[in-house]
Every structure is written in C-alpha cells, then in structure tokens.
C-alpha cells in the first residue's frame, strides 16, 4: 500500500534533494564537467555575508507575511462567519485574490504602485509624504512586496479559519455567554483554543508560501532595488539561471530546505501547544 507513495516521495523529493546536496559540493556551470570543491560553496556564502543577508531578508519578509495574513485572515473570518448574501459576496471577493495568477496580480500592483503615476503615489503626495518609491526605494520595496503577498493570500487564510470556526461547538459559546463571558472572553477562552490546530496549519502554509516567494519578485522587482527583494528562492534562480553557478545555487537550496524545515517544525510545535496538546 505504501509503495506508490514511497516511489513518488523518493522520485520527487528525496532524489532531487540528494542531487542538490551532491551538486552543492561542486563548482559547475552545466557546460563543463563539475569540479569537487567540498564545502567551499557554503564557506563562500557565509564568508561573503551573502547567506546572512539572504536569510535575514527572507525572514523579515516571512514575518510580515505570516503575521499579517494570519491576523487579517482570522479577523475577516470572525467578521464574515455569518449567513447573508452580502457577507457571502464579501467572502468571495476576498478569496478571489487568491485564485488570480501571480503574474496578473503583480502587474496590477506595479501599475498601482508606480512612483510617479500610481494611485498610491498620488495618495502619498496628498499626505505630504513626497515621492515614495514603493518599488524603487531599497528601504520600502521589501515591505511593499510583503503587503502585496498578504493581499494575495489572506483570502486563503480566511477560508481555512472559516472552516475551523464551523467546528467550534455553538453550545460551548452559549454556555460561556450564560456564564457572563463577553465577546473577547469567549474568543480567548473558547474559540481560540479550538482554532489552534487550524492556526497551526494556516501559519505553516503561509510560512511556506512566503519562503517560496518567486513570481512576485520576478515580475515586480527582479530582486532589486539594491538586492532589497532578493529572497532565497529568487537568489537560487539567479545563481543557477543567470550566473551559471549550479554549485552555489544547490548550496542555497540545501540551506533553504534546512531552514524551512526547522521553522515549520518550530512553528507547529509552538502553535499546537508545545507537546502536541492540540
């Protein structure tokens, strides 16, 4: 029974990862034969500061995306967890962003965020903020991409939280009300504890989505300005496809895998109540 699953896992997960580990120990451009260099690719990534900068940028991006998409998704789910046509329309509208292709979303936002002609630039000028280079200012561009990502994936978080809310027994909430619990107390002591497994799932999928950010970077900024939006996956793409450095790209891939695995496990452990109480 396990055979097909093991075969798929070995073919599409274990084997590529093993190849990445092997290639990370080489200097290779796909054209000339690979040369074994040991851990030199890792050492260079560390010594040049490139790895720390990449991980730092990616973690900052992920922190904004995960925290905002989770909290907004939860708030929207709580607000829209009721019957009614208007509420159903709003739910669909919020979720629609999630099903639109990343390229379309990115192009739309590039137009809205243009530093001279965009709607947001006009708003910033009206507020006396001057010219804000949402996509051209190194200090702002990463946050801009994070906010666009939040806009795109919040609908998914909302839907998953809505499903989670259906599993919260109404009699528990009614009992809490009879005991005099207000809305906040009911949420804190009844709803949230029962939603924690759902939150763990949303948090983990948002974390993975934020770490895998590529389309939004590729279309909107190509990693710039001044590497401000060069996140891990985009850096891997740059190394292998633009700079012809398969070894360094593979080293980044291995680091990426280790980092994402560690963070996912940590997040699951924390959100399920430190010891699997969920």
């Amino acid at each position: 029974m396990l055979g097909p699953s093991v075969l798929v896992l070995a073919t599409f997960f274990v084997a590529p990862l093993a190849l990445a580990v092997r290639d990370s120990l080489t200097s290779w451009d796909l054209l000339s034969p690979p040369v074994y260099v040991g851990l030199a690719n890792y050492a260079r990534l560390v010594a040049s500061g490139e790895l720390a900068a990449l991980v730092g940028r990616t973690l900052q991006f992920a922190l904004v995306v995960v925290s905002l998409s989770m909290s907004l998704g939860l708030a929207l789910a709580l607000a829209l967890n009721r019957p009614g046509r208007l509420v159903a329309f709003v739910r669909s509208a919020v979720f629609s962003a999630y099903v639109v292709s990343w390229v379309s979303v990115a192009l739309l936002w590039m137009w809205l965020l243009d530093a001279d002609q965009g709607v947001f630039a006009a708003g910033a000028r009206a507020l006396g903020l001057g010219r804000v280079g949402f996509l051209t200012d190194p200090g702002v561009a990463r946050l801009t991409l994070a906010v666009v990502t939040v806009w795109k994936i919040t609908g998914f978080s909302m839907v998953v939280f809505l499903v989670g809310l259906q599993d919260v027994p109404r009699d528990l909430l009614e009992a809490a009300s009879l005991d005099g619990a207000g809305a906040w107390a009911r949420f804190r002591h009844v709803t949230w504890p029962l939603l924690r497994p759902t939150a763990a799932f949303v948090g983990t999928t948002s974390l993975i989505a934020s770490f895998q950010a590529f389309d939004v970077v590729r279309v909107m900024t190509q990693g710039g300005p001044v590497k401000a939006t060069t996140l891990l996956v985009y850096a891997i793409y740059e190394q292998v496809f633009l700079d012809l450095r398969v070894g360094r790209a593979s080293a980044l891939t291995v680091v990426f895998f280790a980092l994402l695995s560690g963070l996912s496990m940590l997040q699951l452990w924390l959100m399920r109540g430190r010891g699997g109480r969920a």
Binding site: D29, L31, S32, D116, R125, G224, V226, F241, D243
Partner: protein, 419 residues
Amino acid sequence: MRGSSRRAFVAGASLALAGCGRAVGGGRQRATLWFAYGGKNREVLLSLVARFNASQARYQVTPTYQGDYFECLAKTRTAIYAGVAPTFTHVVGEVRPYLAGAGVLEPLDDYPGASTLGLVPALSQRGSYTGADDQPLWAVPFNRSTPLLYCNAAALDAAALSPPESWDELVAAASRLTTRDGAHTTRWGYEVPIDWWFFCASLAQAGGSLLDATGSLSLGGDAGARALRLWQRLIHDERSMRPPPGRDYNAWQATNQDFLAGRAAMVCTSTAFLRYMEENARFSVRAARLAGLVRRAVPTGGTFFTVLRGAPPAEKEAAWAFLRFMCETPQAIEWATRTGYLPVTEDAVATLRRSGHYERSPNDAVAQAQLGDAVGWPWSRELFRVQREIVTPRLEAAVLQNLDAARVIADARREAAAG
C-alpha cells in the same frame, strides 16, 4: 495484449523521436532555432524563417521562442546538458567567449562561403572584440545594435534645444526638459536603465576600458568612477533623471514606456527599438548619438547566431544555409529596416544608401553613423562573470544610494582580482 500494445507505442514513439532533428516530410533536412524576444522582432524573424523555408526544398528551419536573452541562454545551456539542445540559437556578445571556452560552439570557418559573407567589420566577430584575432569564427552577426539617444522632438523644440553632444550639455538639457508640479515630477528630462551596457558606454566615453594593458579588470579606473558620478549627479543633484524600476530587460521596457507616454523627454536605449518607438510615439522621435566626455563611444550589443557543436552534421549544414540566407542583402535589409537593428553586411548598407533610405529615415542614418564610435569588447572568458557578478550588482547600489564612486570601482577591481 495490453503489454504488447504498450511496447509498440514505446517503440513507435522512440522511432518518431529518433527521426526528430534529422529529416522532415519530403526529405527536407531540419534544423531547430531557439530565439529570444517577442513582439515586432519575433514577427519579422518568423516571416524571414518562413521565406527561407519556402525559398528552397532542401532545408527546413523550425523556430521556437524562448523568452528574453537570459532565459534563452539558460534554456539552451540546460538543454545542452540534457542532450536536447537546438541546432542553433543566438546569444549576446558578452557570453560568447565563455561558451566558446566551454567548447559548446561550432567553429564556422570551414563552412562554404564563411569568408565571403561581406559583414560590416564593426559588427562582425573580429570587429566586435579586441584580442579575438586568433579565434575561429564562432558566430555570425544577427540582431546587432548600439545604445542610442531618443529625444522627444516636440519637447526639444519647445525648449529650443538640440540633442546634447557632451555630458555637460546632457546634464543641462535634462534639467531644462524636467517639468514639475510642486514636488511631483510630471516629466523627467532623461532616463536610462542602470545597466551594464549603458555603464560601459559611459565608461568608454570617459576614456576608459574594462581591462587594462595587462588584461586585468580595471573598469576604467577614474573613467569608471566618472561614469557612475554622471548618473549620481543626474539623479540626486539635478533630480532630472528617473532610474527606471526593475532590473535587466524589465528596466529597459519601463524606459521605453516612460518615453512613449511622455514621462521622459530623452531616453538612452538600444537602436533595436527604433522602429517600435517611431511607430508608437504620439510625437516625433529624434535619434541622436550618445553624448561624449573625452570622446564619443558606444559598445555594440545584440546577438550573434551560433551553431551548437553537439548538433548532428546534417542539421548544422541546414543551420548554416539559413545563416547565409540571413546575410543575403534582401534579408539583411528587411531585418534592419523593419526592426531598427543595424544591417550586418556592407552590401546591405550600400544598397540602403543608394536607395535613399537614410535620407528618408534620418534616425536610421544617425544609428548607422554612430557605428563609427563603436568600441570592442575584450575577448575574455571572464567577461560574462565580470558583468553578472562584479559590475551589475554594484551599479544599482552605487547609483541609487549615491555611494563613493571611486571606492565602488576599487572594490570591484579588488573582488575581480581575488577571483
């Protein structure tokens, strides 16, 4: 039964695949071409491929679009590794020494007519590189270009300006052409992608070269710093230049769009867009040679056709037939006049001159005349690495963050020396 059907299918598919790349219906020899760039260029190239296929019954070229130059190169490289590479493709000049050094290109000297193509010297392999005289012929020029200054003629006339000829004139003209509504810039005087190719143009105009006499990377030394300072001055001091958003060819596209929308009065981009700009601008487009500092200078750009060494000999023969076809005067002229790229053969240029084309299309005449300012690339396998890993990552930071230009150049040289 089911097992034998499956085996028959696999055998049939294998035979069909084996047949691919050798011959197509009617006994024609097929060659596959992977090409970059869409839009007008794609339309013109496909029409010329169709003409080639219709003009004779011996060869058939099958073109496949593969994205921009970088994407096409990445796919070609991966395909070479996987053993499914096309017969021929076209690659940018900076990467050709690297590919030649890796042994994946076919030397073309011994193909019939290779020495009598009549190429424009500045656009041929020998004229496009320094230090390449002893190299075999690795490539045939295809879509060759140089940077060109595009001016909004109405804006120039309204400001009683003529196209700038020196850097000081460029700075002054950009300031005059910049219009503001309070803090909002409604039109930028000048725009150019913060990109390696345009940096190399400025570096050469400042009297520098990428490599010093010993062959080491120098980035022009002080000339390189002056090139950076020109952009810093225009962006930060004069606030008359908009650094376009995006990187690589996305920034080029943004530059074109800003010019066509009237958001930039002068832009520096490739001659490749000459026809596109003329046909899509709602104002008269006036082309001009790039301004100079100690001299006028431009690097050449665009791509050369290259045949891949690993292709079967019969496919290479078909590819070579197509390359010769593209170098014939009618095709060289059509490709150039319908796109804006420079005609690659001397006979094509002479024919255009005799026909009065350059009088009718003065912007083409400017682009052609500027070819006299062309400077060659060093034939170095490291050229590509210098571009991608040493210069390009630093340009954006140096210009946008107004870093000390001399220090940026010194750091780049140090890193290049350290390998």
